[in-house]
Symmetry: C2
Subunit: 184 residues, 2 copies
C-alpha cells in the first residue's frame, strides 16, 4: 500500500473541479430515501454531507491557504466546526445546497489559481490547531482527499438504506460492511 | 443501524439511471494517477472498476432477472467472473469503457422497464450458486448497491494515491483507513 508523496497542484485541481458535477449527477432529483436518510442517530444523510462540504468550502480550504501564505506557522488555523452544516443548510433544499456548492467551489478554485502558486510555495508551512506543523501541499492534497472521503461516506450512507433489501447478498457487498473508520 | 427492507423498483431505478453520469463526471479526462493507479498488487484501478461494471452489466444483472422469470429456482445463476474485466477492457481507453457503460446501462434499464414488473413478480425466487434462494427484489436491490460499493471502492482507490501527500491529515480522513471490507 505504498504511494509516493508526490503532490501535483494541477492533478489535485482536476479532481477538485469535478466534485460538484459528480454530486449533481449522483444526487440531484433523487427521492428522499437516498438523500435524507442517514445511518442512525447522530449520523449524516447525503443532505448533511453536502451542507458540510459547503461549510468547508466557505470556512476551511481557501481561508487556510491564505493563513499559511500570510501568517506562516505563527497563526494556527481556525478550528473547523464539523456541525456548522446544520445552520448552513437550514431551510434549504438539497438542490439549493448543490447549487451553492458548485458556486463556492468555482470561486475557491478561481482564487486558488489567481495565487499562481510555485513549487517553493507548496513547501510553506502553517500550524494546524491539533496536528501541528503542516505544509501548503499537504493542505491542498487534503482538500482533494476530503472530497473523496465524503464520496466514500455518501456511497455508504446510501447503500445502508438497502442493507436489508439485498438479503443474503450483503455478504458480498463491501460497502455494507464499512463502519466509517472515522471520528464523528 | 436498522433499516426497513422495503424495496421500491422506482427508487432503485432512479439510482441505477444516474451511475453512468456520476462516473463520467468523476472520471472522464482525469490524469492517469487518478484512473490507472491501484492500491497495490492484485488490486483494481478506476479503469479496472469501470471494466468490471461493464462485465456485470453484460453478464449479470438482466441475465439473472431473466433466469428468475424464466426458470425460477430450478436453474442456478451462472457464476459471476470477477476477473473478466481484464479481457473486457483490453485495448480500450477509460473513455471508451465509460461510453460502453452508459450504453449498456441504458439498454439494461430499457429491458427492465419493458418487463413491466408487478409487486408479485418482485417476490419471485431464483437460486444463487453460492447464496442459495434469493428473490427478484433482492437481486434488483443488489444491482443498485453494487453500483454504490464500487463508488465506495473508487473513492478509496483514488484517495490512496494521496495517502502520503496529505501528511498528518491522514488521521482525520476516514477513506484512508478503509481496507475494503470485501473478498477479492
Amino acid at each position: 500500500m505504498q504511494t509516493s508523496n508526490k503532490f501535483s497542484l494541477a492533478e489535485a485541481i482536476t479532481l477538485l473541479t469535478r466534485t460538484p458535477a459528480t454530486l449533481n449527477a449522483l444526487l440531484r432529483g433523487l427521492p428522499d430515501i437516498w438523500t435524507h436518510s442517514n445511518e442512525g442517530e447522530d449520523t449524516w444523510s447525503a443532505f448533511d454531507i453536502v451542507g458540510h462540504l459547503n461549510v468547508a468550502e466557505r470556512t476551511d480550504w481557501m481561508p487556510r491557504v491564505r493563513t499559511i501564505l500570510e501568517n506562516g506557522e505563527a497563526r494556527p488555523f481556525d478550528p473547523f466546526d464539523r456541525f456548522a452544516q446544520v445552520r448552513e443548510s437550514e431551510g434549504k433544499s438539497l438542490e439549493q445546497l448543490l447549487d451553492d456548492f458548485g458556486r463556492l467551489r468555482s470561486e475557491s478554485l478561481a482564487a486558488l489559481e489567481a495565487l499562481n502558486l510555485q513549487s517553493a510555495d507548496l513547501a510553506r508551512r502553517g500550524t494546524h490547531p491539533a496536528l501541528g506543523p503542516v505544509t501548503l501541499s499537504e493542505l491542498l492534497a487534503t482538500w482533494a482527499v476530503h472530497d473523496l472521503t465524503h464520496l466514500h461516506q455518501l456511497s455508504r450512507v446510501m447503500a445502508h438504506q438497502y442493507h436489508a433489501a439485498v438479503g443474503p447478498w450483503s455478504a458480498f457487498l463491501g460497502v455494507l460492511k464499512c463502519a466509517g473508520h472515522s471520528a464523528p
